[in-house]
Symmetry: C2
Subunit: 514 residues, 2 copies
């Protein structure tokens, strides 16, 4: 057994059976080892940005780590941006990065680079395996690191000779260390504060969905606190039956307005809210100046225990949360506006759907009716780096093959990692991609005004507008082996959406709203 | 004048008038400043990997630096892989990376990341501007750094508040420091060694093209040394009239064979040759063991002075180089093999063309006839990271609007940065993209055997084959606004090539060889 085989066996023995991969020559023995283990699901991404977002959203849905397989420092660089997003999402990811054989690093070979530097810039844990005998143990520790503190980025550099030399035996990852919990006194203080007028309970991480979201809703109902969610969400339960929560919007003004009457913020599983960017003369912190902000439970701490303890301390366990009622709109007639299109989506969205939402500007008008649609889950951008939603949908669909996955994306974001369409086709994934074709970086058009710039001249247009020529997403989809259609009327949009929902495989809709 | 304006004026005053950009909100004031200066050419790339390869190949042709405009750490991450290639090419690039305003960095905002860490992992020079008054001076130093040592990667992080606050006045970049030169004794020793039987003169960098290539050819002719070029070339003169040089191939066996009878290697502007990867049981160094390798002139030193000094010392100035004669093949009939297709390309290639060659496996059969075609220049992969040639062609075409640019790329490489097609259309660039559609990562199929693996099972196929579904490059081109055509016969290929040559704008040919 060589080092590569020992690592693959270690991954499988440790419950890691899915790898989002774009390997190169230095990973050949690893590929050969994967060949011996068809129970390892290897998902080929035609660009490494697909591997990292795939593994990110796989974790968000599966609640366990997947791997990436990358090729030296440049391969890691290509994965970097979506690893940034994964890190901000709190996702656990194990990156296996092939390196040159140790003896080859003495020379200026073309691909020699600073794997350690680029990895450590975004990873929580990094190790370079020194020899074949170490690879299995290092792999087990990497997996444990990725599962620690609710999810971390762990990167293991695998020099080619450690993969091909003789190893000892596979290892199995130990369970991650137990999570840190708040002190009883802090729970008690929070329980008291939440009963005060204007108190907000702001939740994140695992508190945003499923049973913990329910528990947070009970605590809010019992104490009278306002349940709140920050702007960016790794994964949130949405739709009918969910506990009502106020979702902080992206723009500074509405964000400040929503927090206007807040007297305190108790944080569980999330950081204090902050504006996305700084703007001249505007504050970075959106809450009223000087109000208490309690970091009760950092994102790396025991969110479930904290909510249960808070429910116990407040007597919230038996309370009934305020819930969204099912309120399906009629499918509107009339022009294809974002509002009308969103209402149709809300009317048709199947229960249990996963919506990867990377549509900050178009989404603001499109997604509100989804709040009272059939129960579904939404994955959001977390690190502000665009180009995560198409490969993220690949990861979510691989994790949940029985659920319908949707992508809502702007055209600018879609063009970052469009190769993911091919992976959807290759894997036969049930993903419907909806591209809002507003022919530009709409967010930048709006932000130019936000930072106090009034002019919009030749160079700004050159950099914000994605037109001349217009992108043809139907042709782009076809090129990747995915059926696509353009919708320019409500009839076309509704028909395309129904077709996408009925299909078991991928499809794309280019949505051209008026 | 704010900091952003002072920086734009500094760039223009210092002769940097082209920026390959994908800005975000933190760069808004920089965009506004660019708006005031239409003489700055802003080339929008729909993914940051396009900006870095664009600036790389712009430098290779223009022999001066261009800029990139990037958005925080994730934007830099997306540019990383092609900055690695630019670094290995010895290209000078100035990266302007927007960061959050300094006061905003106190908080866990989504886009907060490790700009310094990721930048320093691939940049020669890095600075974070502390205030608006510093921006112009820092920009001037960055430009100087990018021009130093024949070309370096310089990265200036520009916090948003330094862009919008009041600055003092623009600056102008000083000339870069003079280059280090070899000692006279080393020149003399090299002049003697080159006359010995089996001596090789291996050139790189600026010695690969134009007058210096001619000078190197004279020295070789006078001394009897063999003129050699390493496998990867940033930019090389090719075709009829060029001094004959032996070009080291990629595979280990042929590389070793080519160097078999070499008694010494004198290096000017290049590092000692090394195999691309290490392979089990194979040597990393291709030359005969123990022969002298003289680093006469490192890539960062004064290559022109060194060649002139060596010409003086050898009396080579008046020698006549061995040259490639013009030998245009007849356009073959028969099946569309790589060999036949390459012969047709050699017959039709116009003088002065620039060929961005990212076709390692297909190119080995396709490009040999180009050696005796009309004079042209070839840009090659330098860092082994794929996905550089399409955006590289953008940079070359922007630098040389009067020259015909070709891209030779595999399908796997093309899919990394295909968005560059749109930029070609937007800018109306005269680029003909030729995609070798072999439906997979052919190099990996071959390397699996090279590393001693015989099996080729389900997971290896899943990761090496890009089929099921097949990519349709004609549709992909159309989607980006570029006319495309598939060639499956010699007639179709020749017709498509003639059309591409006749056209002034971009086009794509999907070449499906038997």
């Amino acid at each position: 057994m060589n080092g590569a085989e020992s690592l693959v066996k270690t991954m499988l023995a440790s419950g890691v059976d899915t790898v989002f991969a774009n390997p190169g020559t230095s990973e050949m023995h690893f590929v050969a080892a994967l060949d011996e283990h068809p129970e390892m699901h290897c998902v080929l991404c035609l660009f490494e940005g697909g591997t990292s977002s795939g593994a990110d959203c796989y974790f968000r849905m599966k609640r366990d780590v997947g791997g990436t397989l990358l090729h030296l420092a440049p391969g890691f660089g290509n994965a970097y941006s979506n690893l940034h997003n994964a890190r901000k999402a709190g996702s656990g990811v194990v990156n296996i990065v092939g390196d040159h054989a140790a003896h080859h690093l003495a020379y200026e070979s073309p691909l020699k680079g600073d794997i350690q530097g680029v990895s450590q810039s975004v990873s929580h844990w990094y190790r370079w395996s020194p020899d074949a005998a170490s690879v299995a143990g290092d792999g087990a520790v990497a997996i444990r690191a990725a599962r620690s503190l609710n999810g971390q980025i762990a990167t293991l550099a695998l020099p080619a000779d450690t993969a091909w030399n003789t190893a000892i035996e596979p290892a199995t990852a130990d369970a991650p260390p137990s999570l840190h919990r708040p002190r009883d006194a802090d729970i008690e203080a929070a329980a008291q504060r939440l009963k005060e007028p204007g108190a907000a309970l702001m939740i994140g991480g695992a508190a945003l969905f499923g049973e913990l979201r329910e528990l947070a809703g009970k605590i809010a109902a019992k104490t009278g606190a306002r349940l709140m969610i920050d702007t960016l969400i790794p994964r949130a339960s949405r739709g009918a039956g969910q506990a009502v929560a106020a979702h902080l919007p992206y723009p500074v003004g509405p964000k400040i307005a929503m927090l206007k009457d807040t007297s305190s913020v108790t944080l569980i599983g999330t950081h204090r809210p902050v504006t996305f960017f700084a703007y001249p003369g505007k504050q970075s912190l959106p809450e009223p100046a000087g109000i208490p902000i309690q970091d009760l439970c950092l994102p790396e701490m025991d969110i479930g225990w904290t909510l249960q303890a808070l429910a116990d301390a407040t007597g919230g366990e038996k309370a009934e949360p305020r819930r969204y009622a099912l309120d399906l709109p009629d499918i509107p007639n009339g022009p294809l506006t974002l509002e009308n299109a969103g209402a149709a989506m809300a009317a048709l969205l199947p229960e249990g759907a996963i919506v990867c939402n990377e549509s900050i500007t178009s989404g603001a008008a499109f997604t509100p009716p989804l709040t009272t649609a059939r129960p579904h889950e939404m994955l959001g951008g977390t690190g502000g780096a665009i180009g995560w939603s198409l490969p993220g949908a690949v990861g979510a669909a691989v994790a949940c093959p029985d659920r319908k996955v949707f992508v809502l994306t702007g055209d600018g974001s879609a063009m970052y990692t469009l190769q993911s369409l091919w992976t959807m086709a290759r894997e036969g994934l049930d993903v419907t991609v909806i591209v809002f074709a507003n022919r530009g970086y709409q967010i930048l058009r709006e932000e130019l005004v936000n930072v106090g710039v009034q002019s919009y001249g030749q160079n700004a247009r050159a950099m914000f507008d994605v037109e001349n020529p217009e992108l043809d997403f139907v042709a782009l989809a076809k090129g990747h082996g995915v059926p696509g259609v353009r919708a320019e009327t409500m009839e076309e949009w509704v028909a395309a959406l129904r077709t996408g929902i009925k299909s078991d495989g991928p499809s794309l809709i280019e949505l051209v709203c008026v």
